[in-house]
Amino acid sequence: MSKKKLATVWLGGCSGCHMSLLDIDERILDVAKLADIVKSPIVDGKEMPEVDIALVEGSITSDEHYREILHIRKKAKTLIAFGDCAVMTNVTGMRNYFPLKEVFDAAYVNAVSNDAEGQVPGHPSLLKLNDKVVPLQEVVNVDFVIPGCPPNADTIFYVLFEFLNDRLPDLGKAKKLKYG
C-alpha cells in the first residue's frame, strides 16, 4: 500500500485543534508510517498539493478563507471538518449575532486599549471579513466531521487512523462525540 498524503489547514479558528493534534504524541509515528504530512501549519509546505485527506480547522470568516476552502475541496479526496469552529462556527461565529460594523467598532474603536485615534483598518491588501461566519459545510461538501473544542487527541488519532486504513470511523458508535 502506497503512502497517503495528509494536509492540515488552519482557517478561522484559534489553532487549538492543531495543538490537540500534536497531543497525539508518539502516535504521530503511527500516522507517519501511513501518510506524509505534506502541508500543515506545523510543516514547511507552501502550496496545497493533491492530498488524500485534509483536516480543516476553523470556519469561513473572510473572502480569503472562501477561496481557500474551494481550492482545498478541489485538491482533497477526503475533506474533514476539524473541530467545533469548522463544524458549527462555535466561538468564531459569536460575532454573527451582531452587525459587522459593531464588531469592528468594538475591536478597533471602542476597546479600552484604543486611544482616540483608533480606527478600523481598511488597507486593500488585508483580507475582507464576510458579514457572517459560516461552517465549512455551507460552502463545500464535507466528507467527515470531528466536533470538539478542541477534539480530544484520542479522537483525532482514531479518525486519522481509520481513514488511513481505508475504514470509515463512526464517532457515535465509538462514543467519541464531544462538543465544547
Partner: protein
C-alpha cells in the same frame, strides 16, 4: 390495583393503568429521550423527543402526555423515530447560540448529552444566530437567553412548585423568550423569591449562579421531584 398488559418494543409488560407511557418506560429501563419533561412538574409535550409509535394510531404521540391503555403496542426506537429525534436535536442547536466551548454547563448539559445520544456530529441546517440578551441583573443568578431551549421547565417550576410565577413566555413562534415579570430585568422582579429552583430545572446553561466558570455548574434537577414528594408527605 389491576394491571393491564402492554407491549413496548416487543417486550411484554404488565403495568398500572393511569401511568403515562414515559413513566412506564422509565420504570422498565426503556430509554425515552426528553427535554421538556421534568419529574415533579406538569408535562406539556413540547419538545417532541419522546414521540412513540402506537399501533392503530397513525399519529406519533408524546410518551410524556399519553396514558397507557390495555393492549397498546408501542414502539420507541424505530428508524423513523430515531431520524426525527436527530432532526429535533439539530433544530435545538441551530435555533439559539449554543457555544459549548464557553458555556458553564459544558460537560453537564442535557442538550449535549442528547446530541451524543442521537449521534449528532454536525448540524445540517444553517444556524439562526439570533441576538439574545444576557440578563445579569439578579444579584446571584444569570439568565442567558442564548442557551435557552424554551423547554419552559423553569416557568413551570416557578409557577407550580415555588408558586411565585416570576417566569413566563412572551411573544410567539421563533420569537418566544422566557421573561421575568413585565419583561423587566430579573434583578428588579417583584415576584422572584430567589429560591433558585429554576437553576436546577434548567437543562442547559441558560440559568446559572454567578461566580462560577466554564464547566463548573452543578445541577440537581431531581431535587424538584424530591421536594414535591416531600411536600406530599408533609415532611
Amino acid at each position: 390495583m389491576n394491571t393491564i398488559p402492554i407491549i413496548i418494543d416487543e417486550k411484554k409488560l404488565e403495568v398500572d393503568p393511569g401511568k403515562t407511557i414515559l413513566e412506564v418506560c422509565r420504570e422498565n429501563e426503556i430509554e425515552i429521550l426528553t427535554m421538556c419533561h421534568l419529574k415533579g412538574v406538569l408535562d406539556i409535550g413540547a419538545c417532541r423527543l419522546c414521540l412513540v409509535e402506537i399501533e392503530g394510531i397513525n399519529k406519533l404521540l408524546s410518551a410524556c402526555t399519553t396514558k397507557v391503555a390495555a393492549n397498546m403496542i408501542i414502539r420507541t426506537n424505530t428508524d423513523r423515530i430515531k431520524k426525527y429525534q436527530r432532526i429535533t436535536t439539530e433544530l435545538f442547536f441551530a435555533e439559539r447560540n449554543h457555544v459549548c466551548a464557553v458555556c458553564v454547563a459544558n460537560g453537564k448539559c442535557e442538550l449535549q448529552d442528547l446530541g451524543y445520544k442521537v449521534g449528532l456530529d454536525h448540524i445540517r441546517y444553517p444556524h439562526l444566530f439570533p441576538q439574545c440578551e444576557v440578563d445579569t441583573s439578579h444579584p446571584w443568578y444569570v439568565m442567558d437567553h442564548n442557551r435557552c431551549i424554551m423547554c419552559t421547565r423553569c416557568v413551570r417550576v416557578c409557577n407550580e412548585v415555588e408558586g411565585a410565577h416570576n417566569w413566563d413566555v412572551m411573544n410567539r413562534g421563533h420569537q418566544v423568550r422566557v421573561i421575568s415579570d413585565f419583561n423587566s430585568p430579573w434583578g428588579e422582579s417583584v415576584t422572584c423569591t430567589s429560591c433558585g429552583k429554576c437553576l436546577h430545572a434548567c437543562p442547559t446553561g441558560a440559568i446559572w449562579p454567578k461566580a462560577i466558570v466554564q464547566g463548573q455548574l452543578q445541577k440537581n434537577p431531581g431535587m424538584i421531584n424530591e421536594l414535591v414528594e416531600k411536600r406530599k408527605m408533609k415532611l
